[in-house]
């Protein structure tokens, strides 16, 4: 019995791979696609409702769209949400007059609940009657 000679191929140095775009092979993408689909079907059959493949594709596309707007460090929202939550807010004033921590905490929570336009602040319910 003979044993072949083992050779260790030299690995590229870190400086040689920096800035090199990573390209995924289509076969690899297909494999992951099939795994995702199997997981989706399996979860659905186990009683966990799953979004349709079209919906998943749509959400992937939305994620890829360059429409995220950074409000504060670590807080980015879609353009529509930005308009709804921050369109009427004096963000620049607050950015200048608040500490970065306070500004971040402030923008994180204001308008975080979408709500509804028919909500009437003057008719808020008091403490519930027992």
């Amino acid at each position: 019995m003979s044993i072949g000679t083992m050779t260790i191929r030299s690995l590229p140095k870190p400086s040689e791979v920096e800035g090199v775009p990573v390209e995924f092979q289509s076969e690899v993408e297909d494999v992951w696609g099939q795994i995702n689909e199997l997981l989706r079907i399996s979860l659905h059959r186990s009683g966990f409702p799953q979004p349709s493949a079209d919906l998943i594709q749509q959400s992937y596309e939305e994620m890829e769209r360059p429409s995220l707007i950074v409000v504060a460090t670590g807080i980015a929202v879609q353009a529509g949400e930005y308009t709804e939550r921050y369109g009427s807010i004096e963000l620049e004033y607050f950015r200048e007059h608040m500490s970065p921590e306070m500004f971040k905490a402030f923008v994180r929570h204001i308008g975080s609940i979408k709500g509804r336009p028919d909500l009437n602040i003057g008719e808020f319910v008091d403490t519930p009657e027992i």
């Binding site: 009427s88 306070m102 905490a105 929570h109 975080s112 609940i113 979408k114 709500g115 028919d118 602040i121």
Partner: protein
Amino acid sequence: MQHVDWVQGLDIDEPVYMDANILVGSLISKHPLYGKCANLLGKLLADKVEIMLSMVSVDESIWIIAKLAYCEIYKQPWKAHWNPKLYRNHREEIFQSYESWINSVRDAVEDWTNAGAKIDVVPKTRELFKDVLDLIPVYMKEVKLTPADAVHLALAQKHARSFLTADSDFDEVRQNPPAGNLVVVKLTA
């Protein structure tokens, strides 16, 4: 006591007592007064104004948010009937779909406080609690308020110089101002 409408640039003396509708109005983006509430809150936070909250405000805020969640789940209009029995019957669905909404008051107050906001809970002392208890029936009788609103006004009177609200039930203060230095500042659409 005075009652004034809030306008941009109005000087607000601190400490301020915040009604539930201002707190919740800052969190709900489609709220008719959202812009005004959030900008006013932003000014208070930016100026490091002392803000007073009470458990009545917290209770009412979460109660409003729970109703909003119920209306969303069952596609009900905001004027739909809402009471503790409905809440108990649908509590599980509300938490299943909108637990983050229910947690939002806690999360916001905690984050703002950790970032340096001066947010305090009233009543602060046993003596002030006694003073508040004494005032509640007076405001129920003289200002024609519900018990919860009388608690808000009494807490504000004993702890703050300004009371921020959007509740029209306090309009009576304008017609029939009780004794005290408190200024009731009302936000309107």
